[in-house]
Amino acid sequence: MIVATIHIDNKPYEVQEGDNLLSACLSLGFDIPYFCWHPALHSVGSCRLCAVKNFRNEEDTRGHIVMSCMTAVCDGMRISVKDPEVLEFRASVIEWLMLHHPHDCPVCDEGGECHLQDMTVMTGHNYRRTRMRKRTFRNQELGPFIYHEMNRCIQCYRCVRFYRKYAGGRDLDVSGIHNHLYYGRFEDGTLESEFSGNLVEICPTGVFTDKTLRKHFTRKWDLQTAPSVCVHCGAGCNTIPGERYGKLRRILNRYNHEVNGYFLCDRGRFGYEFVNSDRRIRRAHLRPGTSDRSAELEPSSKEAVVASLEGILANGKRPIGIGSPRASLEANFALRSLVGPDRFYTGMPESESALVSLVLETLTCGPAVSVSLREVELCDAVLVLGEDVPNTSPRLALSLRQSVRRRSLKIADKHCIPLWNDRAVRKVSQEAKSPLFLATVAATRLDDISAATFNGTPDEIARLGYAVAHELDPAAPPVEGSTSEEHVLAACIAGALKAAERPLVVSGTGCGSEAVIIAAAQVAAALHRVGKTAGLSLCVPECNTLGVGLIGGGHLEAAFKEVTSGAADTVVILENDLFRRADAKLVAEFFKAATHVIAIDHLFNQTASHADLLLPAATFAEADGTFINAEGRAQRSYRVFPATDEIRESWRWLYELMQAAGKTDLPLWTTPDDVCRSIAESIDALKPLGQVAPPADFRVAGLKIPRQPHRYSGRTAMTAQVSVHEPAPARDADSALAFSMEGFHGHPPNALLDRYWAPGWNSVQALNKFQSEVGGPLRGGDPGIRVLEPAPDREATYPESVPEAFSPRAGERLIVPLYHVFGSEELSAVSPGIAERSPGPYLGLSPDDAESIGVDEGRNVRLTVADVVLVLPVRLIPSLPQGVTGLSVGLGDLPYVQVPAWGVVTRAKAGD
């Protein structure tokens, strides 16, 4: 960074040379109003609000008005941000923008967190002088997530720039001319992009607002919020959920420079409603006469359940525990402590367990280092092996979209165009893309920006990876019997990766193949051998897959065997619906063999209905927890509101069970910190856990951090219908946060930062005030710590064997998994909005295969894999290789089928 000194209203300041003036001034803390500029979208200069005055030199007293977002900082520059002419100019810009603005604030969902309101107040415009009639627009119906109110638009272009240029969406655009600009779809219909929810935060006005929030609307100042982590995939995006009257109301993005930056995916933003679901388990349940399970589960008192557990755990034969990749480290570890390390099972099926161990091994052995989502954006050549990123780890797909812009930025740089000058960068570079190679089972939603795509079976994808590794480093094993096309593709990929400054390999557990992950590691290792530092990004399916992997334990099938063989008779199942992870028959047998089944979960599901004892577990919104994302970053998530009814944190239930079981030498666990300390003591890889977040007794000047904003309303009326005496606020002994509006309202440590607000800045743009520089890391460092670092200077080693080429089997087809961003994840699928976007279960066939079977789109086929028979409608997927069939895993009530596997697909018979 070259430092430049600029004079702002005659005072010298040091800023970064070449930066744009607006961002430099905002970083210095000046309040310059703006609309169209956004730290992630940069400058286009379309709103004309960010005017400042530029003076030629010290003698120049007249100066001239410039748009700060379009002006580069240079040494010795003299500007004024509060020159009277400038102030008048800005006020008149706002006045023009407001000519047609509707009189909507009281019924506008943006009100109270509206950037337009803030900017209007900041510029001092307060009276509509014109008597002109207001232009109006009709709104569009944009699906279950986004509500449209077009009258409120100020034509800043942020929405389309984000939706089209940043997120690669195609169905939102601007139409019309002069003052008839219309931002919407060509016609009414659901917004297709899985990043549409970001429009809520990107749009500085109330044109695009959160439709799920609208159903139970609450203003920003009335929401109780806490720093949280998304639980709907392995990316671990940071979120700010908001609660009111005991219901979760919405999720906003929480900025973490290293992880999700400014954006979330729609699954993470709108998947929260499962927390409010009618299917929530709210009370402890007991099955009367537990021996035959013919009786229904009955709600029971907590005490009765714990008492009956006492008997079971004290007398039962060796209880085993089944953990879960969607439960926090604390919960999993508590279960492990209850049953003992050798009787703790991770809750993942054998196949997935093996993949996760492989991922962990790859990330800890090196030489490639796992990269954060921000680092992904800096990589200038990417190879994706096997992973359908937009569906399994959506936010990563958004980062990959930014990575292909590296070439554009390089070209612009060569032409000395500042990288923030967005329009110029795009023009001069003609949107040239850095190479992104996609080797996946079927087409993905990233294909439009890829340099080349390859669709094949998991083994073929792995072979391509091996071939690339061999091209890079001849010491890597060669791939025999590949076609010349494959050879050319491998050479091309290898060339691009070698030529790149920061190559990246993306893979993961998505296609269910160990060979693919090994191949990805090989490519990274080969790059290392030829002197490149390769990044590696391995996707994992759930929010704590790596966490439970690090805690370690047997797989699900081993747990089943332990019980069916009679070695154990009591099982404790933690936040895990076994029917989603193992063959229904196996699970049923297992339940039959188990004498006592104790389940702890959020929602009534199939597993819960088989339990003899059911305990209500707190969700992410009601429990503190630590999760490890795919990058290997441990992040703490805090409860947003106190749990109601008998709902409690899973680790608290389990601690109580430990006491009930009469365990001696129990560690004293009163806060999650205590559990984390125990984890750090017993698991080497998780030693740094204590530093993830400030301890529970952390205070700023003796004060806790309030979860409620200082203008939280209704305290003396919200429960007055029940009792006119206000209850004491719930106490939170578990963390430095308080369920109160009293406390420290400044900038706390970032792990505890639960909302963005600054005087005059009520919208999400107040975030500027919390960053070290606008768009940069949070002041004081981004939350979360990496726990997986490879040993330095590890030499790359290559395995001997390369998978065989794909040979179709007569009469059988390879069934591979297909994922859906909306629907494949268990919890979010319960939320009504996500459910509406989710397709029903289906079987994907290539048109040729469908023809050979004699079926058409939508017709039913019968699929037989192992001894599971399913009847599913066909969906034609032209990109699927012949002989390969895709199964939409996790959707609807589709039973678990272990894929990839060979299966038989035939036309459904009448009566199927």
Partner: protein
Amino acid sequence: MFSLLKGMWTLLKHTLRKRVTVQYPEEKPYVPPRWRGRIILARDPDGEERCVACYLCAAACPVDCISLQATQDETGRRYPEFFRINFSRCILCGFCEEACPTYAIQLTPDYEMCEYDRRNLVYEKEDLLISGPGKYPGYNFYRVAGVTVGGKDKGESENEEPPTDVRDLMP
């Protein structure tokens, strides 16, 4: 001695003065219409609920005694699902009326709100809603706002152009 006589003289003087004590409750004192007493929720000139559930009164209330939940009917008209004022906390400061952008919440000259049981001072929407517009007869927020509600389409508010044809290319 002197002071005693002075006191008696003052007393005698007062017996001849005009009485200021009012025989409340038989006789009611005059209270001006802008008196800050019991709070009501008014209706607009069309007889619909005026409150649009914007939460501004609740935010303005210094004792936080207003609590409500917004919802909307099938035409998109927003109104409070419930609206509660805890008068046992209310200090009748009038900030809510000041903050209300729709003239829905109004303080009235009724000050007779004593109860033996504090619980009876918790008023729900049914208790607050009156049948008329209160102090401000003409105003109807939804006739001015740009959102559509039942009976008012886009472009039909005061001072509005008809909806734009976005496919029109005429300058």
